[in-house]
Symmetry: C2
Subunit: 136 residues, 2 copies
């Protein structure tokens, strides 16, 4: 179980060894999922306290689906379960970094791609911005 102890002391928050995840005003914390072997960034999603607790207790990634407004055990229907190899927290404890291995075909994105970041943002010479599809 997590033991959130919000603190306004930046030294304690940044240099301490107490996990005090900082949820935003909606109760969410950002989580970045990275494939632990390839280092590929797969997706960015959000956890509430319950999703974080379930992630810690099960060793698999649980998120909060903002679109469906429900707890989301990633991969429970697709088989693309994300097994946590390592979880990290950033300096001000408002973001998590998850190193995961992925079940089934190893994919992550609901569009069928490995990663959700399958488009590059490019700026053309006339200044307009376009996307190019290119897996990474």
């Amino acid at each position: 179980m997590t033991e959130p102890k919000p603190s306004n002391d930046p030294v304690e928050r940044e240099e301490g060894l107490v996990f005090m995840p900082r949820f935003d005003q909606n109760g969410f914390i950002t989580a970045v999922a990275v494939e632990h072997k390839t280092q590929q960034v797969l997706m960015v999603a959000y956890m509430n306290q319950e999703a974080l607790d379930k992630t810690l207790s099960t060793g698999e990634a649980w998120y909060w689906s903002r679109s469906r407004k429900s707890l989301w055990h990633k991969g429970d229907t697709s088989g693309q379960i994300q097994t946590i190899h390592e979880m990290r927290v950033d300096c001000d404890q408002d973001c998590l970094l998850l190193f995961v291995s992925v079940g089934a075909d190893g994919g992550c994105c609901h569009t069928g791609r490995q990663s959700c970041f399958y488009r590059v943002v490019t700026t053309e010479t006339n200044g307009t911005t376009r996307l190019i599809k290119e897996d990474h």
Copy 2:
């Protein structure tokens, strides 16, 4: 200049080639910065429309500092300028992934570390959660 054209059509948003960044209710979009050679995740921050426009026009990362409530040209005092090698957007266009090279000593975190994710979240056998300092 970006040309945000918000669309509720998921096919257009997910499969289209028009960049239509989706800012949250506070006007922010999440951005993950990754070192382009090592693939190390350096930090997670936020951009508003102006920061995104400046990032695209200058080729360097600009963020919105939520704590200082001001536009933030990353590295303008430390020299740790983030030069953009590639920018990607995710499936629903509410998150950006920046592959960057970093000026000065190559660091990113205001605590002096290379990356902001210098602590691992661990769960002890009695269920309590602790942090361990360990660069990655």
